[in-house]
Symmetry: C2
Subunit: 329 residues, 2 copies
Amino acid sequence: MMSLKELGELGIIRILESILGSSARTAIGFGDDVSAVKLGSGKVAVLKTDMLVGSTDVPLGMTFRQAARKAVVANVSDLAAKGVRPLAGLVALGLPANMAKRDLHGLAFGLRDGEREYGFPLVGGDTNESQDLTISIALFAIAEHKRLVLRDGAKIGDIVAVTGAFGSTSAGLKSLLDKKKRPRQLPTPLYKAVFMPRAQLKLGVKLADSGALTASIDSSDGLAWSFHELCQASRVGMRIDEVPIDRAAKNFALLYNYDATELALYGGEEYHLVVTVKPNKFDLARRIADGKMWQIGTVTERSEGITLKRNGNYVKIPRKGWEHFRRYA
Amino acid sequence: MMSLKELGELGIIRILESILGSSARTAIGFGDDVSAVKLGSGKVAVLKTDMLVGSTDVPLGMTFRQAARKAVVANVSDLAAKGVRPLAGLVALGLPANMAKRDLHGLAFGLRDGEREYGFPLVGGDTNESQDLTISIALFAIAEHKRLVLRDGAKIGDIVAVTGAFGSTSAGLKSLLDKKKRPRQLPTPLYKAVFMPRAQLKLGVKLADSGALTASIDSSDGLAWSFHELCQASRVGMRIDEVPIDRAAKNFALLYNYDATELALYGGEEYHLVVTVKPNKFDLARRIADGKMWQIGTVTERSEGITLKRNGNYVKIPRKGWEHFRRYA
């Protein structure tokens, strides 16, 4: 009998989707960064849940405070990609019985850090005993349906852009996992990327307000994975000319003989936005982003696939990324 | 350093509450069956999350389908107690990597059972790898703020009533846990109570609509615990004359020498409603409940405490019940 390990996260989601089905009330179901239900008058309730699990999502050396804050960031980032501010949230906790009281304090302060940074209250929750530390956040917002920037709106000729440079989370995690390559102290940019990631909420909302975007996704499953998700939903291809790589990630790659582009493409837990922009509104979008927007490529026909320029040629970008249940080297 | 085991679930919730604080947007925060945020014009978004954890919440012999359905029931029951229908839900899953594909199918069908029984769609979710099976549901609804039946409205002189007979879940669980007392097959009513519990959604909504209730709570943490929560929130006492005990629980108690009243008072995971009713509207409430409402006592002054008539005298009901992190015999 096949196990979930063989099925992989995508296979699991497909089974859930097919059995749970959809409803007339559903505005956005499984398969985008958030879900939404119709409220009438063109409004929708935006709903999001993302669970952080200690044994798989919390790297060595991360404090309870950082882990709880990161659980909030991961949820907010998905709303940011759609251009929506959270109104309120809930937190369901699974906590080991032998966890120390001071660690619970740390966890609660981390949740509060998240509330304050992104300006919404956690108004309730649930507490359970569990073998594995589990922080399950659910966010709620209200928005105009047509104002949400979904994954499926990219059009041929649109500009592909990102809101940050990539690779530092990958480099930081690799550095933590490989003892030989672990410096006594992680360089600050890598440390921040892994332990104190930030969601692009303000920027995501401003960009959605501008009307310049045609599609958007957050890059938390990896940059390459995000290209594939966006292209699949929009039924288009992408020609990527250049991937902006974080300077600290470049240094790490040089020092330890990694391919910096691979670090940037196949990482994960990096909370930038990957967007497609109407060509005549790209200047506006870049102005709004105040420098935090890099043009990296163009939306093409689906048949062209998803390619990256390397040594003068466009080569296919494989669909790899962070997927639970399956480990990519 | 104190561990969560010593702190107990109540202690944990107190720490979370005190650190997370409240917000001007909060209509109902921690400490009731559901949370709510203001939407303007007297409306609120009702939010609820409840997490089911395999190692502590799933009894021996429960299928994945039953466990997933129960996770939905536990969430719906809290909305039922407030008189609110869920509009939509999310499900975050923590799944062991070695779980079989057919068990995932079972789990998905259990979630669908829940959707269908209670008439709302699960519109999205999140999937994670976890050592412990975790099913975290979040529900969303919209309601008139003043229509919600909270825990804090009980008035002296109100009638205390319940919507079902108690003890069968307790009896069923004890029977499963104690091999000596485990019959080859659990009697049907005990089996149903443990493996296929039902939330009183229709009844809860009808009762809230009637305007007869002053306070309400679901009994999932145990009947005695519910009395204490309701009285604490309403700053009142309760004189309980009689606790309705399920016939199958009575038989089990007789057969295996248990105190049937204790089974009824100190169980848990039993999804009846415990309500207080305006005396002049009790007949109306009973008519609406179509027989599913038992008068069991009266709301008193706080100083009288919470007492139960046993052998002609009113004796204190201790605050015991199902609390994670602490085990009551």
